[in-house]
């Protein structure tokens, strides 16, 4: 039984990181209807910046964490300004393809830095003995990661519910023309959405980097693995991202915990989310919390 609970706990840990990564997609999609496929690369950039600031520059890790969030904020904003601004109003294929091209460009730029090919790990700054309770153990980094994740998600939900800027972003997602006519600058909102996605990406990158170590391959894989999460949750719901992230984390952990090694199966954790995704697409296309905008054709 403790094996089961251990799987539940690690599922929640993995799931909350998925939720934080998925948040970036949701923020961008919510306001501008763009699916940013290059999000994994931005997550990786966030992790690399944090590492460079702590280890190479020597700033304390908490400040480096905040500083990298600020840097990625402006990085993502400038990405939107340079590449996406021209494409407002273009067909959806072009927009998706630009983010795919962006993915490739960022890949190339990251390979130019020492981070592209090597493994790094953050210096330890938390107690190394894991927290153990009734046979279930959680490491401190995981604990802090989960808490940070939920704090950030809470912050974003508050931002969208209460603040003027958040409300104007919701207005733009509802109706661009109407919000333009009451004086909201739609391009600025798009830029802000990207910047906030960059913010959450940097946080996700730093947390993942702390838990699993910094490796470009694992980090940018998060950009792809998060698709099933956002689809399950509904593309434009923050709550959906959280719930779906945790569900996907649990599915993945249970699959690799119980299916691997039995019946000659291996690596099911990697493929299970996609199988679930295909089934969901067939039966509940708008996800758990997405709005019902998809008409049947």
């Amino acid at each position: 039984m403790s094996y089961f609970f251990q799987l539940v706990v690690s599922g929640i840990v993995v799931g909350s990181i998925y939720a934080l990564s998925a948040l970036g997609f949701v923020l961008i999609y919510k306001s501008s209807r763009v699916l940013n496929i290059a999000h994994g690369q931005i997550i990786a950039a966030g992790a690399f910046i944090t590492y460079a600031l702590t280890v190479w520059v020597g700033i304390p890790i908490y400040i480096a964490f905040l500083a990298s969030m600020v840097i990625t904020f402006f990085l993502a904003m400038s990405v939107e300004r340079v590449f996406l601004r021209r494409l407002i109003g273009e067909p959806i294929i072009s927009v998706i393809m630009v983010t795919i091209g962006l993915m490739s460009i960022l890949d190339g730029l990251i390979y130019l830095t020492p981070f592209g090919t090597e493994n790094f790990s953050f210096p330890h700054f938390l107690p190394e003995t894991p927290i153990t309770f009734a046979g279930i153990s959680v490491s401190w980094t995981q604990m802090v990661g989960v808490i940070t994740t939920f704090a950030m998600i809470g912050g974003f939900s508050w931002f969208f519910k209460k603040s003027t800027l958040g409300i104007s972003m919701r207005a733009v997602s509802d109706d661009q023309l109407a919000s333009m006519s009451i004086g909201i600058s739609v391009p600025r909102v798009f830029g802000l959405a990207w910047a906030m996605a960059g913010l959450s990406a940097a946080a996700a990158g730093a947390i993942i980097g702390n838990i699993t170590g910094i490796n470009f391959d694992t980090l940018h894989a998060f950009g792809i693995i998060v698709f099933p999460v956002v689809i399950l949750g509904g593309l434009d719901s923050i709550l959906g991202a959280v719930v779906a992230g945790i569900i996907m984390g649990l599915i993945q952990q249970f699959a690799s915990g119980y299916l691997d090694g039995n019946w000659g199966l291996n690596g099911t954790g990697e493929v299970m989310p996609y199988i679930v995704l295909l089934v969901i697409l067939l039966f509940k296309p708008h996800g758990l919390f997405g709005i019902h905008e998809i008409e049947r054709v």
């Binding site: 393809m97 795919i100 460009i105 890949d107 190339g108 390979y111 697409l281």
Partner: protein
Amino acid sequence: MSSNRWLATGNYFTSYKEEQRIFFTSLDRTAMALLLLCLFAWPLVVSVDNKYMLVIDNILVAVIAVMGLNLVTGFAGLISIGHAAFVGVGAYTIASFARVMGENHILLTHAWPLMILVAGCMGAIFGAIVGLPALRLKHLYLAIATLSFQMIFQWTINFMNFFNQGQTIAVSRVTWVTGQVTRSQHYTFWYYAILVFIVLCGFAVRNLLRTRYGRCLVAVRDNDRAADAMGMHPGFTKVYAFGLAGFLAGVAGALHAYLYRGVGIESFTLHHSISFLAMAIVGGLGTLHGSFWGPVAIKLLDLQVERLSEWVGNHLTIATNLATALKPLSFGLVIVLFLMFEPRGIANWWRIARSYVKLWPFRY
């Protein structure tokens, strides 16, 4: 038609049937015939190194695959991020025949055109299955469905013993009327074989676009509600677009398997799917000859970048990472620049050049 049929400066159609022709003018038809003649004749005149012949064959295989992708993405407007997986389905169909019957079985070596068609049908079946969500979904969600097929495909191949867990599965040399194709003839032989398939597929696609089924695709892309109102079934049209794309991808995959005399998972990864998409975009979405320009441009760019990074690596010792960085960087830049400045692709340049030559010496 103008009085001199060789110097037509515009289209002077008097009947609907004239407008429906494959070749609008005699010049077009003659040029096409000459082009085909050149394509078939040049290996007889110029002898090419096997290394370069392989590159050319590779481009030709990509042309068939991109033709399929152009059908589904360019004409029907459905983004497919899993096209390499469909190509892989075709290749692995050949590989599994080799696995079950032994690689030297007479069906594989003698009846290879049949095998290629079987692989195409297999691709079509998988394409239609993956396209099934199209009955209920649009746009993005469909793109992600194809992405998940790509992932599931890679996992299946990597993990099943039957597929050698992604390691290379050998496919034997084929036999033609002159006997077994030897090592020195291999690439030239496949150049001809692939060229024949390209010509067949190209004419098939061109003809398809003149029929109601082809126009269905375009109508559904442009406005699926209007298409629905006109009596087409958008959902089935999309599924059928996926099926057609799968067929062409399957053919390309089978040709790939025979050309390399083996199948391995590393030729059918997500990266390849993305580069197929890039080829379709650079060539020009929604045009038939775009599917010829795109693979040529992207593959040649790849080759030149490789050469450049080799040169840089020889001269600068610090720039070891530069070689790995240049490839994705240039690739991504090409996609983004094309989308930002020439979303209609190289096909548009061709169109402009063509109309200039056609109208010369008049401006318009």
